[in-house]
């Protein structure tokens, strides 16, 4: 439904990808453990590889959960669809879009 207004109602998103240059926002949500009460949002380059994302964003985050065991493997979903990746693939190549959400659980 259109927002009722007395004029042409058309304003841009305040979180549009263009506002982040070559970067995107990505969300991470753990589904099998409630220690983190909320999912997290990070800002990363679209050209970041999955390997870098895993090492610099995902692991530091999940390791802050005291339930996390060293060497734990995880399964991922991106926007509710099962997700697998090779380390050298970029987020862009993997179809990770701006404000997309990774949900993850112990494999």
């Amino acid at each position: 439904m259109a927002t009722p207004a007395l004029y042409d109602y058309n304003f841009p998103s305040r979180s549009a990808q263009e506002l982040y240059g070559d970067d995107i926002l990505v969300n991470m949500v753990q589904t099998d453990d409630m220690w983190f009460r909320s999912g997290a949002t990070v800002r990363v380059p679209k050209a970041m590889t999955w390997g870098d994302f895993y090492q610099t964003q995902f692991l530091p985050y999940v390791s802050a959960n005291p339930h996390t065991k060293a060497g734990q493997a995880y399964s991922f979903q991106l926007q509710d669809v099962d997700f697998t990746a090779k380390d050298e693939q970029t987020l862009d190549e993997l179809g990770v879009g701006h404000k997309h959400t990774f949900t993850f659980a112990n494999a």
Partner: protein, 519 residues
């Protein structure tokens, strides 16, 4: 010579009845425009699609005149300010249940008081824009009420600001601090709607449907915890709230009675604004269950009494006569009553390093109270985590969240909720609009977004703005400086500035007056 009461010889004017006097002082000042059309004079009351055929049918129920209104309010102010003076002079803050009680007031001051001022401004706008003199005058009275509420709340809490952290720049914090964007964006949504939607949003959904959930437990909590000034301002405001509730009910009935075509529009507004308001009152849920050293009633109990019994059981059967059904997604709110406060205070605990209040793990007595208040869920789902977080804190590893939270595009609460009926499954919803993805916390917020995506894509989400570099800098300390925080405003309560001062002040009293006098 015979004395007469009227030496000019003109007939003595007959004293008007109360009703006639009210009419003369309010309605008789109305006029039909001659130089412009009614549409030109009141341009904002037609574009929402609401049809009004006879504005004179809207009668404001209290029939106050301006002089009576001010006399009545001045009496209430006198009583309140004498309580404030007495409390301040006797160092009454030392008789609170505990220093950490004031965390609830910090949330109130940053989250609710600025909304009173926003309501003041917008009801003044309605007092200009409505076509009928009845609703214009009622809106004028409510506008003045709201200004008075903002002032009395600020004056009441200003005494605490002399001794405790976290209250010193509440207005700046309301505009900037992450969790306060929940209340701010809620009201901004209403302010940027048309006049009729605002009336259903604030006048009906907030002031009628949900206000008792906010104010009544809040006042009782203040009383239970030794906060006489807050209790007094609460009671002082509550008599106005009764008038606002009546106005809200009058408004919805008037609109529904004017034209059948108004019913589906109002129903969608009731659906939207129930959910928006409910998400905001979640903050009250954690206050009731966790922020009061002496708890007064649980959120579950308050929700059952003030919402399920009074609204679903009392109001909505009446509104069914007009074709209005209970709000969409209400079943989820009912299910969440056993979980909501635990999710939200967990969030406050994990993020209190970036908030204007402090938190700590509840002691065993408090955990036992929660277990008794939530016999089906607390020990089963939530107690273990509090005990685990308490153990970490004792070991010197107090847990704070390691990053920035994912926020809901509509309610702006971090994504902390679970699927309706399943406390083990996190809720994450998505919508796409003009090629951009948006994340939502619930079916309710998704429904609201999908209904008006052009509006909600403009949301100023604190986390997204921090990442754009609009909030003082890229690091948490940069952002906290931009919030205007000072030492002791945030973080863990045990060992905080407020906690240390509380102990030191009571120690001084004991040193002077003897053991036990300080408590």
């Amino acid at each position: 010579m015979t004395a007469t009461a009227n030496p000019t010889g003109t007939p003595k004017a007959k004293k008007l009845s109360m009703k006639a006097r009210y009419g003369a002082l309010t309605r008789d000042l109305d006029w039909a425009p001659g130089y412009v059309s009614e549409e030109e004079m009141y341009p904002h009351t037609s574009y929402e699609g609401i049809k009004i055929h006879d504005w004179s049918k809207w009668d404001d129920p209290f029939r106050l005149t301006v002089d009576a209104y001010y006399r009545y309010q001045a009496e209430k102010d006198k009583r309140l300010y004498s309580v404030l003076d007495g409390f301040a002079q006797s160092q009454g803050h030392l008789t609170l249940s505990e220093g950490k009680y004031l965390n609830a007031m910090k949330v109130f001051l940053g989250g609710v008081t600025p909304l009173e001022y926003a309501a003041h401004r917008h009801f003044a706008y309605l007092a200009r824009q409505f076509n009928g003199p009845g609703p214009r005058f009622a809106a004028l009275c409510q506008s003045i009420d709201e200004m008075r509420h903002a002032q009395t709340e600020i004056h009441t809490l200003s005494n605490y600001n002399k001794y405790y952290q976290g209250m010193h720049n509440f207005a700046q914090q309301h505009d900037r601090v992450w969790y306060l964007s929940v209340t701010k964006s809620y009201f901004d949504d209403a302010l940027s709607a048309g006049p009729f939607e605002f009336l259903i949003a604030i006048g009906f959904s907030f002031e009628y449907l949900l206000t008792n959930l906010l104010f009544v437990p809040f006042m009782s909590a203040a009383s239970f915890n030794g906060d006489l000034p807050t209790m007094t301002f609460g009671f002082s405001a509550q008599s106005d709230e009764s008038r606002h509730m009546t106005l809200g009910l009058e408004a919805i009935k008037f609109i529904l009675e004017q034209d059948e075509a108004n019913v589906p529009i109002v129903q969608e507004w009731v659906d939207k604004w129930f959910w928006r308001g409910y998400r905001v009152t979640g903050i009250v849920s954690q206050m009731l269950d966790y922020q009061l050293p002496r708890p007064v009633m649980s959120w579950k109990e308050a929700f059952e009494l003030y919402f399920e019994q009074q609204m679903l059981g009392g109001l909505f059967p009446d509104l069914a006569l007009y074709g209005i059904k209970p709000p969409k997604h209400v079943d989820q709110a009912i299910w969440e009553k056993d979980h909501l406060s635990h999710w939200l205070h967990d969030t406050f605990y994990q993020f209190s390093h970036a908030a204007n209040f402090t938190t700590t793990v509840p002691d065993t007595e408090h955990l036992d109270w929660l277990a008794q208040a939530y016999p089906d869920t607390f020990n089963q789902l939530y107690r273990g985590k509090w005990e685990e977080m308490g153990k970490l804190a004792e070991e010197g590893n107090r847990f704070f969240y390691p990053g920035l939270p994912q926020l809901c595009q509509v309610c702006q609460v971090p994504m902390v909720y679970c699927e309706n009926g399943n406390p083990h499954k996190r809720a994450v919803y998505h919508s796409e609009y003009e090629g951009e993805n948006y994340n939502l916390c619930s079916e309710g917020c998704k429904w609201i977004f999908d209904r008006e995506p052009a509006k909600f894509r403009q949301a100023w989400l604190p986390v997204h703005q921090i990442y754009q570099g609009n909030c003082g800098g890229p690091t948490i300390p940069d952002v906290l400086e931009w919030y205007g925080f000072q030492e002791g405003d945030s973080g863990e309560y045990i060992g905080s500035v407020d906690h240390k001062n509380w102990i030191a002040r009571h120690q001084m009293i004991e040193d002077k007056l003897g053991q036990g006098a300080g408590h």
